[in-house]
């Protein structure tokens, strides 16, 4: 799985992170609608707290960080845009929980 990402800590553009997260969600979690874009509401696509657990695990597998409790909110996980912004912040500056 990690061979797709040479260095998970390397700075990424937001667009690259969004694409990577969308792939993770599509592969491991949800049949995303054809009209999916980073702003699509993930809860309406079927994401629930069970899915969020899987997403947290997948993010840890791919990027090497478990998002802390304080970061896990409906707002941060409601779409790929918000989640990518949060993840980029954590990848660059670490987690201060």
């Amino acid at each position: 799985m990690s061979n797709a990402t040479p260095d998970p800590k390397s700075p990424k553009t937001l667009a690259a992170l969004e694409a990577e997260l969308a792939d993770i969600i599509r592969e491991r979690l949800l049949d995303l609608p054809a009209a999916f874009d980073p702003g699509t509401n993930l809860y309406e696509a079927g994401l629930d707290s069970m899915g969020i657990m899987q997403l947290l695990l997948a993010i840890e597998d791919r990027f090497g960080i478990l998002l802390p409790e304080a970061d896990v909110s409906r707002k941060n996980f409601c779409n790929v845009t918000n989640l990518s912004a949060l993840l980029r912040e954590r990848l660059q500056n670490g987690c201060h929980d």
Binding site: M50, I52, M53, V72, S73
Partner: protein
């Protein structure tokens, strides 16, 4: 020594589909016997504590829930809501993501099922009863043999409806059945009491999800709890917990194997115990919480399916298929639960309902054997939409009416079933 009795219609299995089938057949004038292996009706909704009724409402973007079905599903939903209102509680539709469900209490479901069946003079209910034999000649079923604590009974009837969920009657009758290699995962649902449910408000449930992930990563919890869903009921201190059981039970999952079922039931209880102890020790709001109720049995999403005169496919669900012999509607997305990692949902184009043809409720080659509920004739993927309780109520009602016609010597057409349903509504 075998007791022998005769009736017009036998309904095997007293879950949602069976209740609807039995009440409908009785109201259509058939002397009906409803068989149930537990001491309460309701199936998944009572024995397995499934507390959200899916498939009752139309799929729509707009916020308000609109009932998809006329007849018995609407009547029973109204009963459940009135039951809670009369006791100072609340029961009503709730939006989850982009679907509407009816949040219900298993105790209310069991009680209302008693009341609605007891009100029918043509309907007799047999509890604690298992099927042990079916007499059939390849195209007609003539009787079933039952057992209650060693006491046997032969029941002869003119028509039969298999609402067992496992196609038990059809299988024993020699009707064609099928079962997927990889089934939808079973759900293990239990309730907890003594929780401060305000801790689950706002982002509370998601934070608990994060705590569980962290504990699994640190080795403090087994990976099996990763599916846990916590849902406060609105009653003081009460939370339902749903786990989708993974493959860790040590026996390949097969809902018709008693060994596999033993492994699943034990595994469910083990996870419930482990998870509730973790919550009590580590999660705010759960300090005084305890397991209040375990299910009578693990919640089966998919088992054997009957092969009918027609078979619903995923494509039918996704395009909102219509049929000349439609007798019911399906309004739930395809909800795949093959992995214990949460659902994969596929919605029909334009949120269109899919019609259920009478042929999907009739065992192939059999004149007097019908089916409804989660074992109706469908592919594995279509079943992932059709299995839900709202659709079980709707298909059950139609299968019961069809069986009543057959037992009276009339070959049922879909139009006759729909007309009969309307006539019953008018009464």
């Amino acid at each position: 020594m075998i007791d022998e009795n005769r009736c017009d219609v036998v309904i095997a299995g007293g879950g949602s589909a069976g209740i609807a089938a039995a009440v409908a057949a009785a109201r259509a004038g058939a002397r009906t016997v409803l068989l149930e292996r537990h001491g309460a009706l309701g199936g998944m909704a009572t024995a397995s504590l499934v507390h959200s009724i899916c498939g009752l409402y139309l799929l729509r973007e707009e916020p308000d829930a609109v009932l998809a079905h006329r007849g018995f599903p609407a009547e029973f939903a109204a009963r459940l809501m009135a039951h809670e209102t009369a006791r100072g509680g609340a029961c009503g539709p709730a939006r989850m993501g982009r679907v509407d469900v009816l949040l219900q209490q298993p105790a209310a479901f069991a009680r209302e099922a008693d009341l609605v069946t007891a009100a029918e003079p043509n309907l007799e209910v047999r509890f604690h009863t298992e099927l042990i034999g079916v007499e059939a000649d390849g195209s007609t079923v003539s009787s079933v043999e039952l057992i209650c604590r060693g006491r046997r009974e032969r029941l002869l009837a003119g028509a039969f409806v298999d609402t067992t969920g496992d196609a038990t009657l059809a299988w024993m009758a020699g009707a064609q059945c099928e079962q997927a290699e990889v089934l939808q995962r079973p759900a293990y649902i239990f309730s907890m009491g003594g929780a401060d449910t305000t801790a689950l408000g706002g982002d509370g449930r998601l934070r608990v999800a994060q705590r569980l992930v962290a504990a699994v990563r640190e080795g403090g919890l087994p990976p099996g709890v990763l599916g846990a869903q916590l849902r406060p009921t609105g009653r003081p201190g009460e939370v339902f917990v749903t786990l989708d059981l993974d493959d860790s039970a040590g026996e390949p999952f097969d809902p018709t194997s008693p060994r596999a079922l033993a492994a699943m039931e034990r595994y469910g209880r083990e996870l419930a115990d482990t998870l509730s102890r973790f919550l009590a020790a580590n999660v705010s709001g759960f300090g005084g919480a305890f397991i209040a109720a375990l299910p009578a049995r693990v919640g089966i999403r998919e088992s054997r399916r009957v092969v009918g005169e027609a078979r619903l496919e995923a494509e039918d669900i996704l395009r909102g298929a219509t049929f000349p012999d439609a007798v019911a509607l399906s309004t739930w997305p395809i909800e795949m639960r093959e992995r214990a990692t949460g659902p994969r949902l596929r919605f029909p184009e334009g949120n269109r309902p899919c019609e259920v043809p009478l042929g999907a409720l009739r065992a192939r080659g059999f004149a007097n054997l019908f089916t409804a509920g989660r074992c109706l004739s469908s592919s594995h993927e279509a079943q992932a939409a059709l299995r839900v309780i709202g659709t079980c109520l709707a298909t059950g009602e139609s299968a019961g009416l069809a069986a009543a016609f057959v037992s009276a010597g009339t070959e049922p057409a879909a139009s006759m079933i729909c007309a009969k349903r309307e006539a019953i509504i008018r009464q």
